[in-house]
Symmetry: C3
């Protein structure tokens, strides 16, 4: 089989994405436009529609719509399910791993319903900070809080989770450090007494992630980090994956599997890290659907140093199937562009690597 056809028919395991929303939501066009950007909803929609991503989402909707002239209207449940299945099947999606920590308005939060609508296997990822916040609200003391959180993490795989995620980069950045219990305890009580649910203390987040690592290793599932590109709430300067160095130096050799998500514009840095640290994986999700003109270039740059066995497909999509579709379409095109230009490598080896990138490595990491 030639390379183009091989890639087109390759199954996809989307190891990082979010909830779909319902098909009958009003203002589907507005919702689709809003999810074509990382800007929040106070950002002018007119500017959002002057982004290439909007035009790609729009074209994707039109391509798969039954009615090509009126293709941004709401759908009833049955039509929406068919529409979803059409898109996911077209790109050969097989499984979605859903970070359940982000819940868009009108989300379909029942994963069984998501399975039915998409026709795919769906599994869930445990977002650490969200759960830490929930336990803070329920528990009075540091000791009780930490027991609950750490025990929940220790049994997460039993509870159906296939991986873990930290959004430290959304709370203070990636300069995670080893923090002692006394400092963590003090930070916990400061937080608890602040009346603010949102966890943002650098010392406490460091403590949590650092000390949950053994429980994650014990279950042999990966720990994802939000890295780089995201909404205006992230401090992108502090989201540079190079800042994770002491965490990676400490935990990767001990067997912690770490997956850096998104990474743009630090995808070269992420590729470098994957090339020198054991157990380190990464993707360039989010730029695939939201920066369509970037995808060829970003994938090429990401793979300058990284082993092909350390790079994964993901969409980071949510809300509507068009976003997953645009991600898959641009990613597969970029794979073809990349591998078609490699003269050093025989076709069979290219196929081995493409399979790893599209689903095999993710399957081994999360579904083992």
């Amino acid at each position: 089989m030639e390379l183009g056809e091989f890639i087109e028919t390759m199954p996809l395991l989307d190891h990082h994405c979010h909830f779909l929303i319902k098909g009958d939501v009003e203002k589907r066009e507005e919702r689709l436009a809003q999810v074509s950007t990382e800007a929040d909803n106070s950002y002018p929609l007119s500017d959002t529609k002057n982004r290439l991503a909007w035009w790609a989402f729009r074209a994707e909707a039109q391509y798969f719509a039954r009615d090509k002239t009126n293709f941004l209207q709401s759908m009833d449940a049955k039509e929406y399910a068919a529409y979803n299945q059409l898109i996911f099947k077209h790109y050969n999606f097989k499984m979605l791993l859903v970070d359940t920590g982000f819940v868009p308005a009108d989300a379909i939060i029942d994963l069984n319903e998501m399975k039915k609508i998409t026709g795919l296997a769906v599994k869930k990822i445990y977002r650490i900070e969200t759960h830490a916040q929930e336990w803070m609200e329920k528990e009075e003391t540091f000791t009780q809080w930490w027991r609950q959180l750490s025990q929940q993490v220790a049994h997460a795989v039993e509870d159906g989770f296939v991986g873990f995620k930290s959004i430290a980069a959304y709370r203070f950045g990636l300069r995670l450090r080893k923090v002692g219990t006394a400092e963590a305890k003090k930070a916990f009580h400061g937080w608890k007494n602040s009346g603010v649910k949102r966890l943002s203390d650098p010392a406490l987040i460091s403590y949590i992630v650092w000390n949950l690592a053994p429980y994650i290793i014990a279950q042999n599932k990966p720990l994802q980090f939000h890295v780089g590109y995201g909404d205006a709430d992230t401090d992108l300067f502090e989201g540079n994956p190079l800042l994770l160095r002491s965490f990676l130096q400490n935990w990767c050799p001990k067997g912690l599997k770490v997956v850096l998500l998104h990474c743009y514009p630090y995808h070269r840095e992420a590729g470098y890290l994957a090339s020198v640290f054991p157990n380190l994986f990464f993707d360039t999700s989010l730029i695939d659907p939201l920066g369509p003109s970037a995808v060829n270039r970003v994938l090429d740059e990401a793979l300058e140093l990284a082993p092909y066995s350390r790079y994964l497909f993901a969409s980071d999509a949510s809300t509507y199937p068009e976003m997953y579709g645009v991600a898959a379409s641009r990613f597969k095109a970029a794979l073809l562009h990349h591998f078609a230009h490699l003269s050093e490598v025989p076709l069979e080896q290219k196929k081995v690597w493409i399979r790893k990138i599209c689903y095999q490595t993710a399957a081994e990491l999360y579904i083992n």
Copy 2:
């Protein structure tokens, strides 16, 4: 009209440039070479002439010269005006916004004269730090100084300015923060007593820019920041636009229109910021004339995430018309290269965006 012709004939509003110098200056070749680099004049001219920019400037001069074999000689006023008009007309420049804070030797500082020579509309930008320095020399107390500076800013549009510019990045970097009056007052007196005219205190610059923002909003004109690439005097590490985050978070939602200038090599970061913050615009000026082989790639990278309605043409040129010409030539070529490759978008939409980039967005920002 086809895309190539459309771009070629598109008018340009150069929203960030500097003074021309006189045509009869001796050593025109040396002056042209010196402005083909950001290095200062102690940098070896032989290395400057081993840069591609020099060869582009040289070719530009030859192309437009009457005498193709002797094309780097001085000109009398009449010949120089004709030469300028030939170049600016060739690229369809319509208006120049001049940052009057940088004055090259032998500059034509009378903007009316600049209008006559170029045949273009010319308007001026208020450089904050330069004026802050002038008022420091004239006023004894912090209160008087601040009253003079802030009142001058408050009436700048009446006085013919169409925008504002901060060169904080040339003085300490972009980590602007909210500073209280007591700290600013202390910093002012430290500066005043130092005997050094140059304003470089981070606290005082932060105070100035932060507290002038309301006056700028009130006049509905943009505030430009020098970002990234510049001469050896800028600390490029501290010129990363991501460091402006707290300033942008505070002021953009309140209506301050911010324009990030140059940005290279942080143009991806700037594009990201424009994609998530309201009222944030940027350009990739300076690399256009000074890095001719970079322009296609830099424009593509800048536009990976940014709305097409947030990106502007500018040259950052000065001294001789060749620099404006090389900037326009490479920028227009890069626009064609970028838009010719977009498959998602119909031709008419591309034209809408190209018009915005070349003059419409700048016209709305500065000339409204």
Copy 3:
């Protein structure tokens, strides 16, 4: 002569590389794979073999092997010398400058033997931190230690060295600053008393490099810095060449010739620095052999602003001749790709620049 042939036949002066190892070492395939990555030997070999670099090294070995089916076996001394000479001659290598501070297992440390095996001129570079460590072990007091170290540096050229190298980036980063003798003395004794040979104190390294600069200027030889990409031991965030700013501002105008090595992923930053600081040179070694799919793009980006007279070829290769060969092959291809696309410049000028890049500038710097 056409550009392609001109580049192919251009001599190479490899101004930064390391020792070869013996040809009869067992497990030649494993050793070749290990040197195709910057990861240390605890990194999984299976991942290393999923990198493009391995496939390029492998193809290089096969291309030059006598036995095309069994091309990764050990060789006896005679066959190994012939094999080396075949490869170095193929790419027209003329001279190697060896950083003797890194010694792989089974290295051929006798430079005369290296000359014989390669058929090339071989000269040596003085690695500052390594020698500082040796003198620390021998001397009791700061004063004695500094006298020995500084005198050795002062006479290094007499002793056959043609340049100097600092690996500050491997020890704490590139934020070199001016440090007083009292602080340095204290740091020296802290180090001496620690029982750890490895020099990593930022103040002491700063002191050493800053205060050896005059001795290096006096001998008119360059000082190399490790910058950017390297093994997991370097903190890549702190290896950004922009952080060298105060050192460069102080020493380059005084005549210190500085060469930034590797630079990836900060090669644009390095190119910018070379464009504004006198006496500043750089290369993009290491990415040439270890990131074959990157080389065209990295070379293009490195040369966006830099003078062609400030950029040098180097391989950073070690261990086996294939690594030097892959570096040369990819670098020459990238040169052709870059210069073939420059429309502003006549062929003769391109040849002048290519000659400078391949050997002339390095010859003037090191062999003057």
